[in-house]
Symmetry: C2
Subunit: 499 residues, 2 copies
């Protein structure tokens, strides 16, 4: 969920200086239009890791926009008046009116995450709070509100560096964060529970936007652009007769950096190393799957990737380690008639392995947010809601002991071209290349965006994505096997701890 | 929530026999159309109290309709195959395909309610299960499914009589329910947790229908009609580009009996009794509000009722018992400009009393599902979602220690006419009667339906409605005061127990 916000996004000063004036003007225009229409309020929720620039960004927004139309609310300690009433009262009294913008810095999310981090309650109570937040936001959106939710993120390393920096800076040392942020355990918990909250509460009507907080130019421009795009879309849209205002997906990447192009595509293995490591990992997998602790688990491996990235070959290397009775390979192509008569997840549910077994999906439920999105086979509403449906689905699997591993096999365009051409030369591989493959290749940039969104929204602690640098097939195959082994052993280990 | 299903609904045999043939034919037609369109599946969830006719109704539906297009699934013990997979797998594998109907007898709701009744988990875990069910149903509806949820209800007395009857009947004694249903404690818990589940999971896209189960003719006809109306509406509607199929509200009352007309409107008090009881209750209220245990609570009293039902007079009798610093009376008329710029609940949140205080709402948030519904001031989608929004709102109040009492002051049409005419005669009361009042009177039947739906959907254990027979003002005033006192003392009592 936070992978894309740990790769060092940055915008240089020239670009920033060049872009800001137009952005400010457009934001002011949008704000004025918002006031004129007075059709809906805008609620901006600011959350995230300490030191990631939350306060600075709010300050900047007030500089950029007309502060008379913005209400910034900090919800720290409850006042006496607030303590005497239901907890939600403090939020209701500060809701912005139609035509205005309210920035809630410290809000219902901060309270539930802090409470869980400090052990004031367990997951079930956190889930109650999450559900309460969902109901509140759904109601606000049904009443017409436009909600932005920003999560400012830093990797642990980045956070520590940033806190150190602030500490050493006489201008900033007064605002040094509470002691407990210095402890890396707090960071881990905060991010873990934050992820649970984001996963559950990111909806098409009020999605989370995760912002990498290291570079001030990047984070400011990103937040500004998201606000602008969202405002403009909402101002242009009519409110539907029922249901929330819809503004569709907003682009989040404003620099050229993305998870996919931050991969080191030169990773490779020499033949000898490959053969040795492959055998080692295959033996390890055979052992893991036969392990008696496997009786409490099942294993689901999802293979997605560019065409010709080597999914088939990787799957064969996995299968080669196992007894055919232990696993099942499910190739996903166009749905059958029976499958079309059901919700899209049905065709995957029917193949879920029982405990002790292993199912490999060669392409998967992620088709919804990849090919169906890119080709327009379903509406934006459909694929937008799919992210949380898929997260729910995978949570049900992992809750029942299923270990879920998900691979995106990435190759670069040149490698794909070479492989396509090679396939056309080799008679027994010719069936593997079709007109469709050449056509899909034209949509490379669209898939790139779709893959980025997919990983950002569905790579979760319970079912993380593994991006596999697959220009070198050997490297890819070994990485796949090793990842599966690590995941299984981690699950076994966790069993031991929970005993 | 179950009040309307405990008043002895019944349909006589002649009416039943006369209506069934046409209903069956229409159901068969709808079923055929459903199959032809093959646009969406129909999922029917059957839940409720033991002995309330769940099994009989399913049997009957299979007789009435084409059983080849209906799949009845009983989810009792999980099979070995099911136990080896995530719990939801058993439901997914039995989902009906588009064009078909699946009747789920014993489903996700039965499991969560049973689990809570038998103490396998607490409320927080129940709420997690509730949230899981909501997400599942929302997803199914977003995918196009039409979901009916029937809760078959019996009052405790009715249930005991019914179980006895079955026991004595040699044809039925084999199917006598598990022992624990004989215990009245089980019934209480079942109904309490059932109510929590219904309150949370009744949505416009998949509402609950509570069916009184005593009279077989009544319950069969009601279920048949609801299915028919819902099916016909869904078959006629196009699926919206996004979001669930909407079919609007379905009428539930098929006999002439309703909560309102089951009231004994001849209730009255003689002057002497009235004066004595009024003073007693006023003194009791004064004491309760001054009680030190009141520091942990606040009190919210909602007054709704027919025009000229005597709300003002009743409120004055409540206020007369108290020091003006202790209470606040909020008359609700058309919203102000500030209020119109906010979600509809905002104007009520702003008047929430702090602990220790008492606020009287002379009309309230229920305007949304009364006048706004009847006059068309908001869309059906808006007032349909209001029921669960209001339940959420009141749950937040009661969770924070607020005691919520809600009164509907009911008079009959004749009494209203007399009072209107009297008001026009008395100079100092003439301001109380306007053209609007006469106009509202024309909509008496619409209000009747709206009040019935309101009570059915928002009378909850945490914030029950009290219907007040108000033809006699003395009776009404004393009943109001007594109800407030009982509610306060019950809350004090509960504090003691929870210590």
């Amino acid at each position: 969920m936070f992978e894309s916000a740990e790769i060092g996004h940055a915008i240089d000063k020239e670009t920033y200086d060049a872009e800001v004036p137009a952005l400010r003007e457009a934001l002011l225009d949008a704000q004025f239009e918002l006031k004129q229409q007075a059709r809906f309020p805008v609620i901006v929720l600011i959350n995230g890791v300490e030191g990631a620039g939350k306060g600075e960004t709010i300050k900047l927004l007030n500089e950029w926009m007309d502060p008379r139309l913005i209400e910034v609310r900090t919800f720290d300690q409850q006042t006496d008046e607030e303590l005497a009433r239901p907890p939600a009262w403090r939020y209701w009294r500060h809701l912005p009116a139609k035509g205005r913008m309210g920035i809630f810095f410290g809000n219902w999310y901060s309270q539930m995450i802090q409470g869980r981090v400090h052990g004031h309650f367990k997951d079930a109570v956190l889930d109650q709070a999450i559900n309460g937040a969902e109901r509140l936001e759904r109601m606000l959106c049904d009443e017409g509100a436009l909600i932005f939710k920003f999560w400012f993120h830093l990797s642990k390393k980045q956070m520590k560096a940033r806190l150190k920096l602030l500490e050493d800076d006489p201008l900033h040392s007064w605002r040094i964060s509470p002691l407990d942020w210095q402890q890396s355990k707090t960071y881990d918990k905060f991010v873990r529970y934050g992820e649970r909250v984001l996963r559950r509460t990111s909806h098409d009507y009020a999605p989370w936007h995760v912002i990498e907080g290291v570079d001030p130019h990047y984070r400011s421009l990103t937040v500004g652009r998201l606000l602008l795009d969202g405002l403009q879309a909402a101002l242009a849209n009519k409110r539907p007769p029922q249901g929330p205002l819809t503004i569709g997906p907003l682009p989040t990447n404003i620099d050229d950096l993305s998870l996919l192009n931050s991969l080191d595509m030169t990773q490779h293995l020499e033949k000898e190393d490959y053969e040795e490591q492959l055998i080692t990992e295959q033996a390890r997998l055979a052992g893991n799957v036969r392990d008696k602790r496997m009786k409490r688990h099942s294993l689901v491996a999802v293979f997605e990737g560019n065409d010709a990235a080597g999914k088939g070959g990787a799957i064969r290397r996995v299968a080669a380690a196992l007894d055919p009775r232990q696993y099942n390979i499910v190739p996903i192509a166009a749905p059958t008639e029976d499958e079309r008569a059901q919700p899209y997840l049905w065709r995957f549910w029917r193949h879920m392995p029982p405990r002790g077994k292993f199912t490999v999906f060669d392409r998967s439920w992620y088709g919804r947010v990849l090919v169906e999105r890119v080709e327009g086979f379903c509406s934006p509403g459909d694929w937008l809601r799919a992210y949380s449906e898929i997260n729910d689905f995978e949570e049900q699997l992992t809750d029942a002991g299923t270990v879920v591993v998900k691979f995106w096999l990435a190759i670069d365009e040149q490698t794909q071209l070479e492989r396509f051409e090679a396939r056309e030369q080799i008679p027994f591989k010719r069936f593997k290349i079709t007109e469709d493959d050449w056509r899909n290749r034209q949509k490379w940039p669209d898939y790139r965006v779709a893959v980025g969104d997919m990983v950002d929204r569905t790579s979760t602690e319970i079912a993380p994505w593994t991006l596999v640098e697959a220009n070198d097939k050997r490297w890819a195959r070994v990485k796949v096997l090793r990842t599966i082994n690590n995941a299984l052993e981690a699950a076994f280990e966790k069993d031991k701890k929970s005993k």
